[in-house]
């Protein structure tokens, strides 16, 4: 049995581990086109801020990987011949498979304005992008960041910590409006300004202007021009679908897979950011761009590829991040609508956060400690915890476990309720 995995990210590595947990000898081949192999892509943010050395981003040593006993090929697959069960690589070599996993992830949406190809227009997708950003970041010079979501803030914080003057451009009126509520956006924006970031609202780049092939500034839709030495953007990501399209697999916005992470070709699986996985609970196929679901999907796909039929049970989407230095946990469903700052889904985002059913909002907090709950009929549907994180652990358990909150529902929804105290007491009494 030849099992081949395309993509060296967390889904691919988790799949290999899962296969090896069942079958220690069969052939496994990993083909990846990232020259750096497996590393923590979310960790690139902390490499940018200088909290980490780049070498620390690799969770596996060469020795760790060799223990998993697989063939590791650096290369790009350009064709899947499903009838023959053969892959063609860019270097013209051919590799046959019995079972295939496509875990090629997502890529940053390109900035599509004149001048976007000038030197100094940067995105944050891979290790190579992070290294390029650090090479071009200059103390005292001016950087301009465009986009919404987590990655745009990570770029802002990274460039700030490298001593650059940072201007942050929002196309509409507030930060990450499809996930955060207005007060949460304002908290983040206030903290950015305190750090010295200049915020521009209703600011949309229509042209990057250059001098001698390098960035010199931008022109905005309003007609305003801004001078800068570097433009960094994060306007969303999109699953890398070229291979699936070529292979004729069923796709929507990602590769469509059933709850066993199988595509419409039973010998081909997909997992991670590229997969749009069917969720039997909601009856929908959902895109996630989060590390934990990618790992879990890789594991489940690996088990299925090794013959142990296992369904992917989507956990309540959950992410912890730092927004302007403020630790923020997002659990379950918290927001709604679309965000004009993002062309694609944000990296570190889950579509489930925005499937808002009938619910009521209970919130509490002040300035930098803030808690917002989405209260359903019998359970909590979502929560966002900014600042103090004591409650995020019990909230995660309550939301993912569909804990019946009937005894405290009225207390939570009472005017001026001390929501955090109610939750803390409820949880402590349960345990």
């Amino acid at each position: 049995m030849n099992r081949v995995i395309i993509g060296s990210g967390v889904a691919g590595i988790a799949a290999i581990e899962a296969i090896r947990s069942i079958d220690s000898t069969s052939n496994i081949t990993l083909i990846g086109d990232d020259p750096y192999g497996f590393y923590s892509r979310p960790g690139l943010a902390y490499f940018l801020t200088g909290e980490l050395h780049d070498k620390a981003l690799f969770p596996r040593t060469a020795e760790d990987l060799s223990k998993l006993n697989f063939r590791n090929i650096k290369g790009k697959v350009i064709k899947v011949s499903r009838a023959e069960h053969v892959l063609e690589l860019k270097n013209e070599s051919r590799i046959s498979y019995d079972r295939l996993l496509i875990a090629v992830g997502a890529r940053a949406m390109p900035l599509e304005v004149p001048g976007a190809n000038l030197e100094g227009v940067l995105k944050l997708d891979h290790m190579s992008d992070a290294k390029l950003i650090l090479k071009q970041a200059r103390r005292g010079k001016t950087a301009l960041v465009a986009g919404g979501g987590i990655t745009a803030l990570e770029l802002t914080e990274g460039l700030l910590s490298r001593g650059m003057k940072v201007h942050y451009l929002l196309r509409r009126d507030r930060y990450w409006s499809n996930v955060l509520d207005e007060q949460e956006s304002r908290i983040v924006e206030h903290r950015l300004r305190e750090e010295g970031v200049t915020l521009h609202r209703h600011a949309e780049i229509i042209e990057v202007t250059g001098k001698n092939g390098k960035v010199a500034g931008v022109r905005l839709l309003s007609g305003q021009t801004l001078k800068c030495d570097l433009v960094a953007y994060a306007i969303g990501i999109r699953p890398r679908l070229a291979l699936a399209k070529q292979a004729g697999l069923a796709i929507d916005r990602g590769i469509l897979v059933n709850e066993y992470l199988q595509t419409n070709d039973p010998d081909i699986y997909a997992a991670g950011d590229v997969a749009q996985a069917y969720d039997p609970m909601s009856g929908r196929s959902i895109l996630d761009s989060l590390w934990a679901p990618a790992r879990q999907q890789g594991q489940v796909a690996g088990l299925n590829m090794a013959g142990r039929k296992t369904a992917y049970v989507k956990a309540a989407p959950f992410n912890v991040t730092r927004l302007a230095g403020l630790t923020t946990t997002i659990i379950g469903t918290v927001g709604r609508g679309r965000d004009d700052d993002l062309v694609g889904i944000a990296r570190g985002d889950s579509e489930t956060w925005r499937q808002l059913p009938d619910s009521m909002v209970a919130q509490t907090g002040f300035e930098v400690n803030r808690l917002r709950l989405l209260v359903g009929e019998k359970t909590l549907l979502g929560a966002i915890v900014m600042g103090d994180q004591k409650l995020s652990f019990p909230l995660e358990k309550m939301i993912s476990g569909n804990v019946d909150i009937s005894p405290i529902r009225e207390q939570l929804l009472a005017p001026n309720a001390k929501v955090s105290d109610v939750i803390a007491e409820f949880w402590a009494n349960r345990n």
Binding site: S40, P42, A56, W291, A292, F318, T327, K390, P394, A428
Partner: protein, 88 residues
């Protein structure tokens, strides 16, 4: 008070620092490695965060560097029963 059981760490931080162990919550972890990078004695805390196993390393100083520096709140201290019994 209901809070006491839940947030022992705050209530008696020093006791836990001396007698606790570092426990990871894998679902929060993105394997960035800040924990391992900052461990003064070189324990691979990140590997524990992948497997979900508490850091039961005999040389762990419970200094708290990894817990404090993790940007995603993956790590927390939990008191170990062994020491709790020895104390009482």
């Amino acid at each position: 008070m209901a809070f006491l059981g839940l947030f022992k760490w705050d209530v008696d931080k020093h006791t836990v620092l001396a007698s606790g162990q570092v426990v990871p919550d894998s679902a929060r972890c993105v394997q960035c490695g800040i924990c391992s990078y900052n461990c003064p004695i070189g324990i691979d805390v990140r590997a524990h965060a992948w497997s979900g196993e508490p850091v039961r390393h005999s040389q762990c100083l419970t200094c708290g560097e990894c817990v404090a520096r993790c940007p995603r709140g993956v790590l927390r201290f939990e008191a170990t029963d062994l020491f709790a019994k020895a104390k009482s």
